[in-house]
Amino acid sequence: MKIVVCIKQVPATNDAKIDPETKRIIREGMKAILNPFDTYAVEEGVQLRDKFGGEVIALSMGPPKAEASLREAISVGVDRAILLSDRAFGGSDTWATSYALAKAIKKIGDIDLVICGKQAIDGDTAQVGPGIAAHLDWLQATYVMAVEEISSSSIRVKRMHEDGYDICEMSFPAVITVVKDINTPRVPSLKGRLASNKCEVPVWKPGDIGADTSKIGLNGSPTRVVKTQPPPPRHTSTKKIEGSSIECAQSLLRELRLRSIV
């Protein structure tokens, strides 16, 4: 089987800064990491390839330095990687991003399965996975917590819901987005590190994937960020409760009753 894993390089959340002029995230100087949810997508792709043979390809869209995240995917067993990178892709929202990724997936060709992480930790939208499926008109399953079975033509997965789970079967080609439950990502082997250092990561431009330039970047994005601001401050002080366990329990109970929580 031939698998594409879509990954995103994201800034480490704890030091995010916003440019007040452009309202964009200042990516320069910020530590970049592979989106944590995508590590589960990469691992699942590698495991399925190991079990059923074939090829697993990592795909990302981002600035040139996003190549580092693709190399990270290679270090844990992905066969090859492709980066979509061009100024024309800049400013893409989830509509335009999923369009470009879908075009790249078509260009790669003969793909059975696309695996994405549940969501990226910077935007938190969870929209790109289903967006790719919609652009390709493929079947989709989101919040996948286990791959139950695979045949040459179909996949059976367990989907997490708020009130439990369900098991569904889809014929290929299909898109799944995965949650942390699905596996435990491996650490890179020495051989993997060497492979990731050595490999070439081709960069594809809009022309390479036959993208309609009116559907990528800011032009292709129906949404516009018009303002960013810090969230309202939380509170001014912490009320500390100390004493014996019984005193602590009684004081807290009083606070809970005061607010009609109990």
């Binding site: 819901h161 109970l253 109990v262």
Partner: protein
């Protein structure tokens, strides 16, 4: 992408809500969103429409009028008993083309977050996830959507002026459910499911509904959450008792507790778990690493219980209880029982 002209924009009217149906019942998030849609529709002097898709819908769709709906579109078909994203997306696309809504709001649930991105691509619309605030320009109908990003570190306001409808998802419990007005009435429109809606779709093999109400973090008003300080699965039994005593509470957990196998992943709060915005968050034995804090720092009231008064969680908490939670929590449980 070609922007809509003014004339074309004006063809799109009314505020729509996609109902969340579980096991034939209309979920409370639907009432909350109907109330929010009412406010927007009043500003635009337009109507609130709710789309109900399901099979054997037991609850009368008319009940939604009381929450502010003017029209309820009902698609009731056995093919909609399980959640099949592809079918529901095709139906939504058809309804949108037929009736031209200005705004479509959907619950940011696992189902909503799977369905609406698909619909937005199929209909070429902008979509904003997990909005915490919605307002509308009464003149031109532009929806201003406010949402947290970077785990709540910034608030972004998003607009989609050039396309209609404008789509947004909102988490359960973010909007207040309106007081139902049993005197309100409205119209029901019955729509069919077409055979083409169920072509090329997935098969639902099995469905498992958890009977454990504490499972559902997204729908809870209060979360009682445990970390490494709970010391083992026994500790979480204590938290479950606590949650049962407090009305409407769910049990959450830190990554450390989930990775230790003390409680299933569905309970995990934080960067690789769920982001929650409850009224009350009680953190028990959670030190508060940044990855956990970004998942819960938007909760209204944060209470922390820990032996160590100096952890990040104890610093950001509104109320910090310093002490042995294995002694304090049983006392609280006793205290609530004796009320």
């Amino acid at each position: 992408m070609i922007a809509f002209t003014d004339a074309k924009r004006k063809e799109y009217r009314n505020i729509w809500v996609v109902a969340e149906i579980l096991a034939g019942g209309i979920q409370s998030v639907t009432h909350e969103l109907t109330g929010a849609a009412r406010t927007l529709a009043d500003l635009r002097k337009s109507e609130v429409w709710v789309v109900v898709m399901g099979s054997g819908i037991e609850e009368k769709p008319e009940s939604l009028f009381a929450y502010g709906a003017d029209v309820v579109i009902v698609v009731d078909h056995p093919g909609l008993s399980g959640f099949i994203d592809e079918t529901e997306a095709k139906i939504m696309k058809r309804l949108i083309i037929k009736y031209k809504p200005e705004v479509v709001i959907c619950g940011a649930t696992t189902r909503g977050r799977a369905l609406i991105p698909r619909v937005s691509v199929m209909t070429h619309c902008g979509l904003t996830a997990d909005c915490t605030g919605l307002s509308i320009d009464p003149e031109n109908g532009d929806l201003l959507q406010t949402r947290p990003a970077f785990g709540g570190n910034i608030m972004a306001t998003i607009r989609c002026s050039n396309h209609r409808p404008q789509m947004a998802t909102v988490r359960p419990r973010v909007m207040k459910s309106p007081e139902p007005d049993p005197g309100r009435t409205g119209r029901i429109i019955k729509e069919e499911m077409l055979t083409s809606d169920s072509e090329k779709i997935k098969q639902i093999i099995d469905v498992f509904h958890s009977t454990e109400t504490a499972y559902n973090l997204a729908d809870a008003q209060i979360i009682i959450s445990g970390g490494r300080g709970m010391k083992g699965p026994e500790g979480f039994k204590l938290l479950k008792q606590f949650a049962q005593r407090v009305g409407g509470a769910a049990v959450g957990a830190s990554r450390a507790a989930v990775d230790s196998g003390w409680i299933p992943y569905a309970h995990q709060v934080g960067q690789t778990g769920q982001t929650v915005q409850t009224k009350v968050y009680i953190a028990c034995g959670i030190s508060g690493q940044i990855q956990h804090l970004v998942g819960m720092q938007s909760c209204d009231l944060i209470i922390a219980i820990d032996k160590n008064p100096d952890t990040p969680m104890m610093q950001i908490a509104d109320i910090a209880v310093v002490g042995d939670l294995f002694e304090i929590i049983p006392e609280i449980v006793k205290g609530i029982t004796n009320l």
